[in-house]
Symmetry: C2
Subunit: 270 residues, 2 copies
């Protein structure tokens, strides 16, 4: 079901700045057994992202209710929340009187994801290199052509995700996921200060590691370093944790870290 | 008037990938006395941009007719053409069966633009730095948050435009315009191979200079070089040519090049 500003509809005002300029932010949240997973984290991130673009974020209660309504009767599903700056006249200048618009839409989870969670995944390296834009780095905004072009590079269904590097060769994450390496007993995740999306699941894993006193660092990660890692994981709010089992001719056996990380996520699901 | 796929409406399907990802391209064309200015150039650029994103461009005849219909009864106006990849399920992968969607909307020209054309303009330098993304450079795509953030830096109505630099300090253009310098008798315009939009008016001016045997080069331009230029011009399809008269404490008298360049544009208006 699609809700636009709380009303069930299939359509959106054509003058919305979301379509004109990608002028907005979004979240994709999992709803399981009617419960909006990690909602506190999700809303906090949405509000922070909106703030960085100078968009007034709708209230937590309004969005929570709309996510639940959109998911009602759908079973376990993904709900996407888009908050745009709203409508405006032609021109880049954000209209001071713009009223943010909420679009909340539910969709099913791809059936192969459960298998990927269980068996791990085969991953490729994308040719597209992410650009550095500190003003937008970390934000889950609506300017996602880099992700679209990267994801368009392959259509082999046995490849579950593609890794993205920046222009300097640092691995930043997957097209739709954040990355963690296991090096010795430590977790390492890429520095996202110049590009990439700071996902909520990444944040929850970092908090979980912190609580356990397990080292989790942010670092610049070369592809060589990824290939040399003891374990490699891709994470997001819908897929949870996928272990990378095949990448560039390198294979990994099933590792021990994924179950631990899943437990941390279960504990940080509020 | 707004036309979506040729139908007069105010709304758009909420599952359009234009809103989800900025997955599309656009043009802004001037319609004067019922005539779509520089239409051949505009369509060629739209089709080239769509091709770079792997979007099938609607036909020239269809779009031309819709631009005229959207502008009918509006007097001289701006018509924006958006072509998105169309609707699709959640996920970055472009659906192979996606049917591109056309949004054509008209709006009036800001009344101050005529004065800016006559008297020249005061311009500022934006703090935001454009990122380098060769895969998207030159394309007028719907991922325009950089322009939005840059344009949000000022609301002083006496400042008509802001100059954008890349991370290395190269001046790339205005938030909504391309840049030309006059150096001696030569024209120079920024290299747009890593960022910026290759506007149709820029292309028409380069063709006009070429026809006259006047030197017009593409180069990396520092802000110092802009400030040292004999004349500085900002151009786009709606504003035509504005001479920069004030920038960073430097002033310029009315120059001789603007009338010539306007004549070249009149000759390249097919």
């Amino acid at each position: 079901m699609i809700l636009v500003n709380g009303e069930a509809t299939e359509v959106l005002t054509a003058t919305d700045r979301g379509i004109a300029y990608g002028d907005g932010v979004f979240r994709t949240v999992a709803v399981r057994a009617g419960r909006v997973c990690a909602w506190r984290w999700q809303f906090a991130k949405l509000a922070a992202d909106a703030r960085r673009l100078g968009i007034a974020c709708p209230s937590q209660a309004t969005l929570h209710e709309e996510v639940r309504r959109s998911a009602a009767g759908e079973g376990d599903c993904a709900v996407k929340i888009i908050v745009t700056r709203g409508s405006g006249p032609r021109g880049y200048a954000p209209p001071p009187q713009a009223r943010p618009r909420r679009v909340v839409l539910s969709s099913g989870m791809p059936p192969e994801w459960a298998r990927h969670g269980e068996n791990g995944v085969t991953v490729r390296v994308c040719a597209l290199r992410l650009s550095w834009q500190p003003a937008l780095a970390g934000i889950k905004h609506l300017n996602r052509l880099e992700n679209v072009l990267a994801r368009a590079e392959w259509d082999d269904p046995t490849i579950a995700e593609g890794l993205l590097q920046d222009g300097a060769g640092n691995v930043i994450g997957g097209t739709m996921s954040n990355l963690f390496l296991v090096e010795g007993d430590d977790l390492v995740t890429p520095d996202l200060s110049r590009c990439g999306v700071e996902g909520v699941t990444r944040e929850r894993i970092m908090a979980g590691a912190d609580r356990r006193g397990r080292s989790c660092r942010v670092a610049a990660l070369s592809l060589e370093r990824v290939l040399a890692a003891r374990e490699v994981m891709l994470v997001n709010s819908l897929i949870g944790v996928w272990q990378v089992r095949h990448l560039n001719g390198r294979g990994w056996d099933a590792g021990e870290t994924v179950p631990s990380v899943r437990q941390w996520l279960d504990e940080n699901d509020d």
